[in-house]
């Protein structure tokens, strides 16, 4: 294309521009570049997950604390249907089954019956989203639920986007409300009470997605969340958390397409801070490489680091013993509130089966260690934590 010639005449420029725009609209992929356009195809998909985690006592302090912990098997379904070119309805449903146990404090105190506590449970969850597409924006109304034997959550949300005339910049906004109910009268609950606990959470989001070049697109979002109610873990022996939690999350994502190999890097960074005193950094990187005959391979890496909560009570000389909490207003010996770092790696392989069907397999492994973080000193009495997940999926467009 000769840009000098195009610029030399306004009339010629308009004609060439119109022809190119018309040609671009004939390409399905180019038409989909308009973020506000309604989807042309529906999709149904299902995915199976097998998850397993364990801990390893691999230091002098944690020797003998190795243990298998939890296993999760889950099956989920998703369907999305476009309606009349201006609407779409999307729904997901998931059933997961949890077996095993997590420690009652720090990395120890496992119940003898490994199906007690928060585990040995069946959870059902789903959501429904209705989207209206406008010439330069979208509006999505959503509702969600999640139910297990000791926990019920109901939520609703409103999300929207608004694009500039060039569609190179898209502003997004969202707000969500969740109301959760916790059964505090189950056998394994540490401090039983007849009345259920409640937790209410409000979230709001602002974001911008910016086309940076023909091969680069960037997105930044900030999310503010305010919650109040029952934040303590009813199955932990020494856990009394503040009754409210404010959270700020800043996330930036950058996708870059490489013309040569026709591959795409997807990078993201997330900063998180909350009123528990926890700060964290999350770096994600993956590379999507399409291959001949409909194959696609996606390796990924992740690094995560968090600081400890202000009220986290570390292990003492013997990590198998709990640490006394007498006199403290708030306290927790939950290792998830300690300082640590984690590395993950994964790989996903997908294959198109004809024009409509796609199948995929993904494996991901993560390891958490007390001394891998960059947000302060970790707790050496916490064993190394490992988790692995395998996903197998199948989807069909129609």
């Amino acid at each position: 294309m000769d840009y000098v010639t195009v610029k030399s005449s306004n009339r010629k420029s308009r004609v060439v521009g119109a022809l190119l725009a018309s040609a671009a609209l004939l390409l399905p992929s180019a038409k989909n570049a308009l973020a506000d356009a309604a989807p042309e195809q529906g999709i149904v998909s299902m995915k199976y997950l097998n998850y397993h985690d364990s801990q390893t006592g691999d230091s002098d302090l944690t020797a003998g604390m190795s243990k298998d912990r939890m296993t999760v098997n889950a099956l989920s379904f998703m369907g999305m249907v476009p309606i009349a070119g201006k609407w779409s309805v999307a729904a997901t449903f998931i059933e997961d089954s949890v077996t095993g146990a997590s420690p009652a404090y720090h990395g120890w105190g496992f119940p003898e019956d490994t199906t007690s506590g928060a585990s040995g449970d069946l959870r059902h969850a789903g959501d429904l989203n209705v989207t209206r597409y406008f010439s330069r924006g979208t509006l999505t109304l959503g509702t969600s639920y999640s139910q297990e034997s000791d926990y019920k959550s109901l939520g609703c949300s409103l999300n929207g986007t608004l694009s500039t005339e060039s569609r190179n910049t898209t502003f997004s906004f969202g707000t969500a409300f969740n109301s959760d109910t916790i059964d505090l009268n189950k056998e394994a609950v540490v401090h039983k009470q007849a009345d259920p606990g409640h937790k209410t959470v409000f979230s709001s989001l602002l974001g911008v997605t910016q086309v940076m070049s023909q091969n680069d697109i960037m997105q930044m979002t900030v999310t503010l969340t305010h919650g109040y109610g029952h934040y303590s873990d009813p199955y932990k022996n020494y856990d009394l958390r503040p009754g409210h939690r404010n959270m700020v999350t800043f996330m930036t994502r950058w996708n870059h397409h490489f013309d040569g190999p026709n591959g795409t890097t997807r990078l993201s960074y997330r900063y998180y801070s909350d009123s528990f005193g926890i700060q964290s950094h999350t770096l994600d990187a993956e590379y999507v490489q399409p291959l001949p005959k409909g194959w696609e391979i996606t390796p990924s890496l992740r690094y995560y680091s968090q600081s400890a909560a202000d009220f986290y009570v570390p292990t003492g000389d013997n990590p198998r013993d709990y640490t006394p909490v007498t006199g403290l207003e708030h306290y927790s010996e939950d290792q998830r509130l300690s300082a640590f770092g984690a590395f993950s790696y994964g790989i996903k392989v997908s294959k198109e089966l004809g024009r409509s069907w796609t199948t995929d397999v993904k494996y991901e492994h993560c390891e958490q260690r007390y001394n891998w973080g960059i947000n302060g000193k970790g707790d050496p009495g916490i064993p190394t934590f490992n988790m692995s997940a395998i996903q197998v999926g199948l989807s069909r467009k129609f």
Binding site: G17, L27, N32, A33, S45, M46, K47, L49, M78, R123, A125, D127, G142, S144, Y145, S146, E148, Y151, S153, L154, S157, N159, G174, T175, N178, L206, G207, V208, T209, Q210, V211, Q219, M220, T221, V222, L224, N246, V248, T249, F250, M251, R253, N255, H257, T264, R266, R270, D274, S275, I278, T282, V288, Q306, A309, R336, L337, D360, K362, E364, C366
Partner: protein, 76 residues
């Protein structure tokens, strides 16, 4: 007080960045073939994302960032 200060700083920082970003490119519609590829969007595989976010949010203190909405869970 501390949490309000953190909230205000975070929001201000992000809004300044957002304002600076808008209008810094002029890619034409017919130049967006690569941007329209599925892997160049931020949505991704919804069920895969759902599983992965759920796993990490149940084993780490942090969660969220990519969007709002969705059910809570007793695991975190």
């Amino acid at each position: 007080m501390k949490s309000r200060c953190v909230l205000a700083k975070g929001a201000l920082f992000a809004l300044l960045l957002m304002t600076g970003l808008s209008g810094c490119s002029s890619v034409q519609p017919w130049e967006k073939q690569n941007l329209a590829k599925t892997e160049m969007t931020f949505e991704g595989d919804r069920l895969d994302t759902g599983y992965t976010e759920h796993i990490y949010s149940s084993k780490e203190a942090s969660s969220g960032g990519a969007g709002v909405g969705g059910g809570g869970c007793g695991c975190n």
